[in-house]
Every structure is written in C-alpha cells, then in structure tokens.
C-alpha cells in the first residue's frame, strides 16, 4: 500500500487522475444524499414525514430499469454531453485547475441541456429551454464575478492557488459571496418553481419543462448531472472559506440548509421576479464589492 502511495505522490499526473477518480465516484453519492436531505427537510418544514434520505437513489435506479423513449436520434446524445461536461467541470475544480475554464465548461454543459430540450417537438420542453436560458442570463453574470473577485484578491485564477491563499476570501468578498448565495437558489433549480424543471411536485405549469421528453436512462443521467452540479456549486462556497476547512465545511452545510429554507418560504417566487431581481442584486452586491476591491488595491 505504501509503495503505491509513494508512486502516486511522486507523480503529479497520477495524483490528478486519483483526484478525478475520487470526485467521479464520490460526488454523485454526496449529491444524491444532499438531494435526499433536501426532500426530507422540505417535507418537515411543510409538516410532512417526507421520503427516506436515500430516495433520490431509488428514483435513479428505478429510472435505469425503465424504457428509454426517444423522439429523435440526437436528444439523448445531448444529454450524454451535458453529463460529460458537468463531470469535466467538477473535475476541473477538484484538481485545482483554472476557475475561468470551469465557468465556461459549466456554461457549455448547460447549453447542451438547452439544445437537448430544443431538439424535441414538445412545446413544454421548448418553454422549459427558454426559461433555462433566462435562468442562465440571470445567474451567469454573478457566476463570472466570483472568479473575477477571487482573482482580484489572490492574483490567480487557479483553484489550487485560490484555496491556498493566506486568509479566507470571505473577508475581501462578502458582497460577491452574498450575490452568489442569492443565485444559488436558482442554480440548485429550487426556487422559482416555474423556471425550467423545478422540483416542486404539485406545480405543473409547464409539465416538466426541459425534461418533458426524456425518460428512463436519459432522465436518470439528467438527475445525476444535477447532483454533480450541486456538489460543484457547493465546492465554490467552500472556496470562500478554504483557509479554515472546518469553517468551510460548516458553511457549505449552512448555505445548503439556507437555500432549502429560502425555497420553502418563497413558494410563489416566479421567473419574472427572478429575472428582474438577479441583475440588480448582482450589481449591488457583487459589482460594488469588485469596484471597492479594485480601488482599494489601486491605491
């Protein structure tokens, strides 16, 4: 065992490969458990018993057993690319690679999901895809401000260097962090219930939005990709506190619980409000934070 550890330690490529392997295996486990925790806590907040914490795994295993219907040749290929690029994006952050590349890969992955939804004929799917684009327009400015802010503080876009910075980034970026937490509700596909494929079971305004025409293994892939995405988004929360790992882990859990809480007290939050509020919020919190930092560093 020690012999293998030595080989891995002496070989940086192998260490990276090991990181990726650990991420690929553990991220869906963590993501699925978080999704289950979310359903359980939401149910308790609504005065219900709620499903078991491992329910998301039952759902995905069931979907694997179901028939995969398709209406054209390409739809499931796009979903495959969505999953692959989501895993790629997560691998970038967990191997300490470039933050900007990660944001672009995440956007590319999102675009494949939109393409998949547009490739079918269902009007519900198209509406879902349009709202997914609205969501991306709302959230992505803030998502881009995160690496910009981190760069201003640490002088690097590399996750490995950002994580090793001598002080917790939250001390310099409280506004960026607040803005990021604000968009996280949408990025987790939680709050505006009518966005593109929100989880809320009783709301069926656009049937199942983006996922309307996907079934069986394709739907399972969408669900697993969503778990990867959640883990990745929480990893960015971790980066704000990375200097103090215990605090960072606690904050990740706290932010996740906060999002569940926000979602449950904003049951009628609609996409129009999401769209009009995010840019203002991004500008006021994230933008102001960056401007202050810029001048503070230039003096």
């Amino acid at each position: 065992m020690n012999y293998y550890m030595e080989i891995i330690k002496s070989n940086p490529q192998m260490l990276t490969a090991l990181h990726v392997a650990v991420y690929v295996v553990l991220a869906p486990l963590a993501g699925g458990l978080l999704a289950g925790l979310d359903r359980k806590i939401s149910a308790r907040l609504q005065g219900r018993v709620g499903p078991p914490v491992v329910q998301p795994f039952y759902d995905v295993f069931k979907l694997m057993k179901k028939e995969t219907l398709r209406v054209n040749r390409y739809q499931n290929f796009y979903i495959f690319l969505f999953l692959v690029f989501m895993i790629f994006t997560g691998s970038l952050i967990f191997t300490g690679a470039d933050m900007l590349l990660m944001i672009f890969a995440l956007t590319l992955s999102g675009i494949f999901l939109v393409l998949a939804a547009f490739s079918v004929d269902s009007p519900f799917s198209h509406t879902g895809a349009e709202r997914e684009i609205i969501q991306m327009m709302s959230c992505d400015p803030m998502l881009i401000l995160v690496p910009v802010g981190m760069y201003l503080v640490t002088g690097s876009f590399r996750v490995s260097e950002i994580a090793m910075f001598e002080r917790p980034l939250i001390m310099f970026l409280p506004g960026v962090f607040t803005g990021y937490v604000f968009i996280l509700t949408m990025k987790f596909r939680k709050s505006p219930f009518d966005l593109s494929m929100a989880h809320h079971a009783a709301h069926q305004e656009i049937v199942k939005g983006l996922t309307t025409e996907f079934s069986g293994k394709a739907l399972a892939a969408i669900e697993v990709a969503h778990w990867y995405e959640n883990v990745l988004l929480l990893a960015i929360v971790y980066l704000f506190f990375a200097r103090i790992p215990v605090l960072a882990a606690a904050m990740v859990l706290f932010v996740f619980l906060l999002e569940i809480f926000i979602d449950n007290i904003n049951a009628r939050f609609r996409w129009e409000l999401a769209f009009s509020s995010t840019w203002i919020f991004t500008l006021v919190t994230g933008g102001a934070n960056i401007i202050i930092l810029y001048y503070a560093y230039s003096i």
Binding site: R39, A43, Q46, G47, R48, V49, G50, P51, P52, Q55, F57, Y58, D59, F61, K62, K65, K66, E67, T68, L69, A201, A202, Q204, V207, K208, T211, T212, E213, F214, S215, G216, L219
Partner: protein
Amino acid sequence: MSSLKKSPWIIHYDATSCNGCDIEVIACLTPMYDVERFGIVNTGNPKHADIFLITGSVNERNSRVVRNIYEQMPDPKVVVAVGICATSGCVFRDCYNVLGGVDKVIPVDVYVPGCAARPESIIDGIVRSLTVLEEKYRAQKKNKKNRNGRSGVITDG
C-alpha cells in the same frame, strides 16, 4: 424490495370525473396522508410516470386522450382506476356518450372502488399496483432475454 417499488411516479388524469375523486387524489399529497413518504410523486408527465391514476367514467371524447397518455408511458407501467366511475361507469354507464369504465379503453391493473374513493383506499390501490409493476418488469426482462437468445437481436431500451 427493488427500486421499482420504492419510487412510484404517478400521472393523474381526470376522464369526466365529478372532481370528487380528484380532490381525494390531491388530498393524498397533503401533510395528512403525505404519499411522498413512500417515494410517490405526482409528475404530471406521462413519460416520467410509472402509474397511470385515472378517475371518471371515460367518454367518447376523452378516450383518445386516455389511450394517448397510456401509450406515451415507458414500460413497465400500470393503470389504477380510481372511483366507481372509473371502475364500471356507475350511474352514468347508460349515458349515450359514456363508455363505462377505464378498462373499455386500456388494460386496468388495480380497481379502487368508492364514491368518492377515500385517500386511504387510493394509497392502498397504488401500493398494490406496485406488485403488478414489479411482475411486469420481471416478465419484460425474461421476454427480452428469450428474444435475444433466439434471434441474437439486441433491442434498444
């Protein structure tokens, strides 16, 4: 118990019901009954559903819709007829436009009688249908194996 039984997703369609049974179906989702504790989710999308929950006596106009929803559901799938109207047509069975029961249009696996069917009996009907779902999955798997063995053709899905 397999994952099929632990994650039943439902599509609910009202085929000329008086809404009595539909209100009871929705009541199952409330904190009082909370079917989500069995993993039951009301999807509203036939392509995501495992169980087709149908209320009402089915008439000439909506039989097409009922058949369409059924055909859009991926295998394995089961049908639960909720309420006495969906079971037999009840007092409406002699109406000129009424077909009299869901089983005149699509195969039904579980009948839940009652006017209106109580939430307890609806939940019981769904739980019973899960055994049928599991059986259908086994039969499908066996069938596929036999077919592949004979002809060597690999089928999609």
